[in-house]
Symmetry: C2
Subunit: 91 residues, 2 copies
């Protein structure tokens, strides 16, 4: 398992991604990045807050906002959020 | 004018908030906080990126994600993003 993993948040309910994140934590990854694009940004923030509230010791290390150029949709620039969390189980 | 101002992002188009932010910058505020709740979080990130791309010298100082308890809507917990920007015109 990598020391860092990424969970990409899409259109499903926030709890689906929360369970995915808990699985990643249990697999021993040191940090976890939650990534959401465009309208999924709100859901990514929601997932981070749910983890912080429900998994004791989860810490937000960093929040980045970056940009993604989508070639498929006439090169619109799409905002992306990346929330880096610390695994409460790792030393 | 305060040394720090808040622009709350709602349902309008991102450019409406970009012009509001530029007005705040021109009034001499040192920092500016862009605040978006729930599904407006994506738009707040979009506004911050548009400012960074179009107003030379705009820097993101801090990104916070917090929670808001809404009493009106049966006390659901709503995620909130706050993006703190540095005014490029201030020393």
């Amino acid at each position: 398992m990598n020391s860092s993993s990424i969970v990409v948040v899409g259109k499903k309910k926030p709890w689906n991604y929360v369970t995915a994140c808990i699985t990643v934590f249990n697999s021993g990854s040191k940090t976890l990045t939650i990534r959401g694009r465009g309208s999924n940004i709100s859901r990514a923030v929601d997932v981070a807050n749910l983890l912080r509230r429900n998994v004791a010791g989860t810490q937000i290390l960093e929040i980045r906002i970056v940009e993604d150029v989508n070639d498929a949709e006439n090169s619109r620039i799409i905002p992306v959020i990346e929330i880096v969390l610390k695994n409460p189980h790792s030393k």
